[in-house]
């Protein structure tokens, strides 16, 4: 395809352009409430893109991405809160009379907005560098990231004077002078989210189609072989982990003005696991899948919980399990390979595809 770049570029991106167009037209046929909800799903899609980069491409499953989402969201929340009040209400009722020093820069948009990306990325570097250098991987890494999520939730809840405790940061009024109560502002935020999602998608697409993308896949499929070839996998992993964290932070920053609240409950283990599930449902290793998965799972969650407030967890649980069993490659995998064979294969379930003596990528399972 690379031999005919001019034609193929248009060809390759026609779906992208079509979807972007549809998203841009959504405000005309969705009610304000649904549009707001959909905007929220699209911010989740940005997180899913980031998770897909590290999980689908590099084979690292982070179950603590809520932390990076939350860090970005808290930076944005701090900025918006300071627009509403000079001294945030939770500080005054926690006994603070003056704004803490580290809160002060968040008064300025030029500081707060870049921080929504930089703080999650820096923190990801800080966590990722030693961890990947120590060659912690697989489920060990997943559990570590989970512990980290727990630490962050406990810390943010415990430091009520500085973070707002369990309540989080809420009661936000305006963004850049536009009232958050105005439907027009909401539509504007939706448009920004669509734009950011588009940029994030193109960025990820570009990343995965460069040499870097090939190295990532190599890390997933045979890290040691890569190491023997003279690459240092840790550096690539740290880099991609930081980018992924930055995307989560961006999503968090877009989430706050649309939903109007950020609290530690968005940083915890549950939302973090859910984030991974969006990607699994959509299809790992395909960027389209990540976006589709995030939107679909959240739409299903809203739909079920609105219609069956007492039973919706069953639907969600069954949905996840059936996806893992029936569509191991997610929606995209099904779309690509299985859509014709699926009905026949469902009747002739062959376990051999996942024979337990071999790992999913065909390499020998570990020998102790």
């Amino acid at each position: 395809m690379d031999t005919k770049p001019a034609k193929s570029a248009i060809f390759r991106f026609k779906w992208f352009a079509l979807v972007m167009l549809l998203l841009a037209l959504a405000p005309f046929f969705l009610s304000d409430f649904r549009l707001n909800l959909f905007g929220k799903f699209l911010t989740f899609a940005i997180v899913a893109l980031g998770i897909d980069l590290i999980w689908g491409y590099a084979g690292i499953l982070s179950l603590g991405h809520g932390v990076y989402f939350g860090l970005g969201a808290y930076c944005m929340g701090a900025y918006l809160k300071l627009q509403a009040e000079d001294l945030p209400d939770f500080m005054s009722w926690s006994g603070l009379t003056e704004l803490p020093r580290f809160w002060k820069p968040f008064y300025h948009a030029w500081f707060a907005l870049p921080m929504t990306l930089l703080i999650p990325m820096l923190f990801a570097l800080l966590v990722g560098f030693p961890t990947f250098r120590a060659r912690i991987k697989g489920v060990y890494f997943s559990i570590l990231t989970q512990a980290l999520a727990l630490i962050f939730v406990t810390l943010f809840i415990g430091q009520q004077p500085y973070t707002g405790g369990t309540n989080g940061i809420t009661n936000l009024q305006s963004i850049f002078g536009f009232s958050l109560a105005e439907p027009a502002t909401m539509r504007g935020l939706y448009a920004v989210t669509v734009l950011m999602l588009g940029i994030a998608y193109l960025l990820c697409h570009w990343l995965t189609h460069t040499q870097l993308g090939k190295v990532l896949v190599a890390i997933r499929d045979g890290e040691n072989r890569l190491r023997f070839l003279g690459y240092n996998p840790a550096l690539f992993k740290v880099l991609i982990f930081a980018i992924s964290a930055g995307l989560a932070g961006l999503a968090g920053a877009l989430f706050v003005p649309q939903v109007g609240i950020i609290s530690p409950s968005m940083m915890g283990i549950l939302p973090s696991v859910e984030m991974a599930i969006w990607v699994a449902v959509g299809g790992r290793g395909t960027l389209k899948g990540a976006v589709i998965g995030a939107v679909l799972v959240n739409a299903a969650k809203s739909y079920f919980s609105e219609n069956f407030p007492e039973l919706w967890l069953y639907f969600l649980g069954v949905l996840f399990i059936s996806f893992v069993l029936l569509f191991p490659q997610g929606i995209m995998g099904f779309w690509r390979k299985g859509r014709f064979k699926w009905m026949t294969s469902i009747l002739r379930w062959r376990e051999t595809r996942f024979a337990r003596s071999s790992s999913p990528n065909g390499l020998p399972r570990k020998y102790h």
């Binding site: 030693p130 512990a147 969600l316 020998y367």
Partner: protein
């Protein structure tokens, strides 16, 4: 700090270790041996706790309220079997498709945990339920003035010891246990030598789940019995297993001891919230230096 505070802290540490060990033991077996991380482990624990509750309700109905002690004793093996049966079914229906795919294992078992929690909520109500502790576990030994060692904590210590010894004997002194270890060390070779690895897998998963059931009995003495009971313990159990290193009984014991003894210490010198934060940070830092945990199988493999 008086001597009795120090002594009671040591006892608290040991007691917490025993709870963690009991919860972590089953998880370590399923996780370490099979490479499947079972998010629904906490819910098996919850099932065990509900078994205590249901059995006590039945006993109260048929034998009056005096039989709490007897019903608790019976619920120990019963909860093991109920949880093991549930584990067996789960393995047959779901887990066996997920070997070699640990990530999917996480997500699918997480789905199970959602379903089991909601099921508990629908069957038993969203409220916590109450279990009367047996009479013979009320009170405690007055070790010295101002220091009472509660019988129920001593009982859990003994129960944990019993379970650990039992598992040790099983793994190292029986043919079945030897097969289990063989599969753990080299699945393909064991299969070549005629071990029916699938049978071993199913059995191992049921055993680990059953141990969670016993742990559920134990924690019903100390804490709440409700739909979220399992969630309160699961992360600690993960940390025990990861810290201890997988696949070794000694590792899990050491992991539980370290977490259990250090947690009260940090809690004492700071606050309960910060104590846990400090402990988890230390564990993470430790694992940076020794990713395999305290104990691990010696291996020449790279992956």
């Amino acid at each position: 700090m008086g001597i009795e505070t120090l002594l009671s802290q040591i006892f608290n540490g040991l007691s917490l270790s025993s709870v963690l060990l009991l919860v972590g033991l089953g998880l370590s077996i399923t996780f370490g041996i099979m490479g499947v991380i079972n998010f629904a482990h906490g819910e098996f624990l919850m099932v065990g706790a509900y078994v205590v509750y249901v059995l006590q309700g039945l006993f109260n109905k048929f034998y009056g309220h005096g039989a709490a002690g007897l019903s608790f004793l019976i619920s120990l093996p019963l909860s093991f079997f109920v949880a093991a049966l549930l584990g067996f079914l789960l393995e047959k229906v779901l887990i066996r498709f997920l070997y070699g795919r640990p990530y999917e294992g996480i997500l699918a078992t997480w789905g199970c945990s959602l379903i089991l929690q909601q099921a508990a909520r629908n069957i038993f109500g969203a409220n916590n339920v109450d279990v009367t502790s047996p009479k013979w576990l009320a009170g405690g030994v007055e070790a010295m003035p101002g220091l009472q060692l509660p019988y129920n904590r001593l009982f859990i210590l003994a129960l944990t010891t019993l379970c650990v010894v039992g598992i040790y004997l099983y793994l190292y002194r029986t043919a079945q246990g030897r097969r289990m270890r063989a599969v753990m060390q080299n699945r393909d070779m064991s299969a070549c030598l005629g071990i029916r690895t699938r049978k071993v897998d199913t059995f191992t998963f049921a055993l680990g789940s059953g141990l969670a059931g016993i742990a559920g009995c134990a924690v019903s003495l100390l804490g709440s019995i409700g739909p979220s009971t399992g969630q309160n313990y699961i992360i600690d159990a993960f940390m025990v297993v990861v810290l201890g290193g997988t696949g070794r009984l000694a590792g899990t014991i050491a992991g539980a001891l370290v977490m259990g003894v250090l947690n009260p210490v940090f809690e004492l010198i700071s606050t309960s919230s910060m104590g846990k934060v400090i402990l988890f940070i230390l564990v993470i830092l430790f694992l940076q230096g020794k990713p395999q945990g305290l104990f691990s199988l010696k291996t020449r493999a790279l992956d």
